[in-house]
């Protein structure tokens, strides 16, 4: 009994450590700047009406606008008219903090565009990775050819190479062929995933040889076996790999930062987060955290949906 309690205590502690940043992120995305500064308001904040100072500043009328508005305020001085306009602006610009944070996230930066970019890049990467990894893994697991073990050794060796070590040469190569600032630059370097090859190969090892022989007897070519037999049986492992691949590339900041230098049109979501960094008034944590929340949400939803099969894949439970 006591051992169980200890086990749970330790697990709860671990869970708190892991969840704390998410808690902060979510909480900040709800609160007003003042509450964030003072650290008040609990998890949701008080949600009192707040005034967006920037919005008000934008409405500050210049001389022409005061002159244009003069007929509406007969017999008032310019400064009185200005004060009236500003008072109206403050009313118009006051919102609930949560609305403020989340609308800012979409208005301040073209977040939808970034999300779309993220989708295009991660989906293309994953798609091509599967296209390459499955036949490679099949060959390494099930075909007999000279030098197979050596090739597999190379795959294992490639697992040890950190991406940062080859980032510079890769960048130079892409720059030389003029591909920086394109989707190609974001996608191509990741299309061969040695981890994917390794993971799928380990899974394919558990697929009985008889099944492949049966497929050959039934008239399938080797490629047909990969797509019609191995792929459907490997769905759990593929899902596990999908989570690894998609999380890694959706969240990647390092590589897009290197190859996307000019146009904001190619920004992926993590690059979009930078829009809120080091703002002059320094009080943009709320919208920033709202953006972060929006960015991680697709991943969390995807994980929850695929959770059970994902765990199956991780444990590489083969079939009987």
């Amino acid at each position: 009994m006591t051992r169980d309690i200890w086990k749970h205590l330790i697990l709860i502690l671990g869970a708190i450590i892991v969840l704390a940043p998410f808690y902060m992120m979510l909480s900040y995305s709800f609160k007003s700047p003042g509450e964030i500064d003072r650290g008040t308001g609990g998890f949701f904040g008080a949600q009192e009406m707040m005034v967006d100072p920037r919005c008000v500043k934008l409405r500050d009328p210049n001389r022409d606008e005061i002159a244009a508005a003069a007929p509406q305020y007969p017999g008032r001085s310019d400064s009185e008219i200005r004060n009236a306009i500003m008072a109206q602006a403050e009313i118009d610009c006051s919102t609930r903090p949560v609305v403020f944070n989340y609308t800012k996230a979409f208005i301040e930066a073209p977040l939808l565009r970034y999300l779309l970019n993220g989708l295009i890049v991660t989906a293309s990467i994953f798609f091509i990775q599967v296209l390459v990894a499955l036949p490679a893994a099949y060959a390494l697991a099930k075909l007999k050819f000279w030098g197979r073990e050596a090739v597999f050794g190379l795959v294992l060796f490639c697992l040890l190479i950190p991406v940062h070590a080859i980032a510079l040469p890769l960048y130079i190569m892409l720059a030389k062929v003029g591909l920086t600032n394109t989707y190609v630059a974001l996608v191509v370097p990741w299309t061969i995933s040695v981890f994917g090859i390794f993971l799928m190969r380990q899974f394919f090892m558990t697929v009985p040889d008889d099944l492949i022989d049966a497929a050959r007897m039934d008239g399938m070519t080797e490629l047909a076996i990969v797509w019609r037999v191995m792929l459907p049986t490997a769905i759990p492992a593929l899902l596990a790999f999908a989570i690894f691949s998609i999380v890694a590339h959706w969240n990647d900041y390092f590589w897009p930062r290197i190859v996307v230098t000019g146009s904001r049109d190619l920004f992926t979501p993590p690059l979009g987060l930078r829009e809120f960094k080091g703002d002059a008034d320094g009080s943009f944590f709320g919208p920033m955290m709202a953006t972060a929340t929006i960015i991680v949400m697709p991943l969390i939803v995807a994980f929850l949906v695929a959770q059970r099969r994902f765990i199956e894949g991780i444990t590489l439970s083969g079939m009987k």
């Binding site: 022989d213 049966a214 497929a215």
Partner: protein
């Protein structure tokens, strides 16, 4: 339907020679069992016939046409695997349809979504459905068509595997220990069903098993394999009654055949120093081995050839097997007795055994059958 011919096929895996020159001709519509102990190369031979493995040397011909170098799918053979090897993600009906879909639909027609609407696909698909239907009726698996293999029992999976094999009307069926994953009762039942299927389809069957009972009960001919060679290929009764090799005699028959050392000198054949008979034809003097099936031994009080004590008994109801430890010898022999004789057999009881030499099989020291050694039976007049 077609005959098969295998000529001097050898196979090496690295240094080990798994098949050492196998030659076998299988006639059209014949049921041939390949039987032998585990690891003797049965599966390897079957895979070579199927085209899943290339022989190191030798040739395979199907229906008179050499198929060396022909891809497995193009040999039009069906194989049933020990593990059934059903596609786990397809339903029973889809599993059975796979070989037909691969053969009669083009790659484009097989595509999901658009495939069914292409010209010609509709007729092809309905033909396939009809073929699947008739196969499932034959095997009585109609109600299972929409299940996945994971939801089936072992026996049902086995039937689906058979269905997938027979739906495409192959030149020959190759079965690799198809019953070994079933429980004993189901095995007996399925054994009979496969034999019936063979008679009904009039197809060529090559059936691999390590179980001699399966081989004996189902086959037209049995090929006994050991150590990568076929020792003998004959009808079951011939294999049992007239084996050409002591290893065949020892492998086939349960309980095992009794082997006793006999000596041949000066036309006299002696067992443990006792004269059994006289040879009628000149044969080389020396040590021979006498094989006696358990049913060849008889309990006898008058003038037994050997005596011994009952060391162990197995009563199967319809018959009794007794192991007799021979007096003054280390060896034991097994005797089959009728239930009526059971009262003479008690553990530890002294019994006398006799036999007719005509029932004995004589092998030379190397295990080769010596058919030329004809013995004049004389043992009834003997010194006690």
């Amino acid at each position: 339907m077609a005959g098969l011919s295998i000529s001097s096929v050898t196979k090496r895996f690295g240094e080990t020679e798994v098949l050492k020159g196998v030659t076998l001709d299988v006639a059209d519509a014949e049921f041939v069992s390949l039987v032998g102990p585990s690891g003797c190369g049965k599966s390897t031979l079957l895979r070579i016939i199927a085209g899943l493995e290339d022989p190191t040397s030798g040739d395979i011909a199907i229906d008179g046409k050499a198929v060396t170098g022909t891809r497995a799918a193009d040999r039009n053979l069906s194989m049933v695997f020990q593990s059934y090897a059903l596609y786990p993600h397809l339903t029973v009906a889809e599993n059975i349809a796979v070989p037909l879909r691969m053969r009669s639909l083009s790659a484009v027609q097989r595509l999901p979504l658009i495939g069914p609407f292409l010209p010609g696909a509709k007729e092809q698909r309905s033909e396939i459905a009809t073929a699947v239907q008739s196969a499932t009726e034959m095997l009585e698996i109609g109600p299972l068509l929409d299940r996945k293999p994971g939801q089936l029992s072992g026996g049902q999976r086995q039937r689906v595997a058979l269905g997938r094999a027979l739906v495409r009307d192959p030149a020959a069926f190759l079965l690799d220990e198809p019953l070994s994953n079933l429980d004993a009762k189901l095995r007996v039942q399925t054994r009979a069903e496969i034999a019936q299927l063979h008679r009904r389809l009039k197809a060529t069957f090559i059936y691999v098993t390590h179980d001699q009972v399966e081989a004996m009960t189902m086959s037209d001919r049995i090929a006994v394999m050991m150590g990568g060679e076929i020792l003998q290929c004959d009808a079951p009764s011939v294999i049992y009654e007239d084996p050409s090799n002591i290893r065949v005699a020892e492998f086939i028959g349960s309980p095992k055949i009794n082997i006793l050392p006999v000596e041949l000198a000066n036309t006299e054949m002696t067992l443990f120093g006792r004269v059994l008979g006289y040879i009628t034809e000149a044969a080389q003097a020396g040590i021979y081995q006498l094989g006696l099936r358990p049913e060849a031994l008889k309990l006898t009080q008058a003038a037994p050839v050997v005596t011994g004590t009952v060391a162990h008994m197995e009563n199967l109801g319809s018959e009794v097997y007794a192991q007799i430890a021979l007096a003054n010898q280390t060896s034991r022999v097994t005797l089959r007795a009728a239930p009526a004789e059971r009262r003479n057999l008690r553990l530890g009881a002294e019994v006398g055994l006799g036999f007719s030499l005509k029932d004995g099989l004589i092998f030379d020291a190397d295990g080769k059958r010596q058919r030329r050694v004809e013995v004049a039976v004389t043992h009834e007049r003997e010194v006690a």
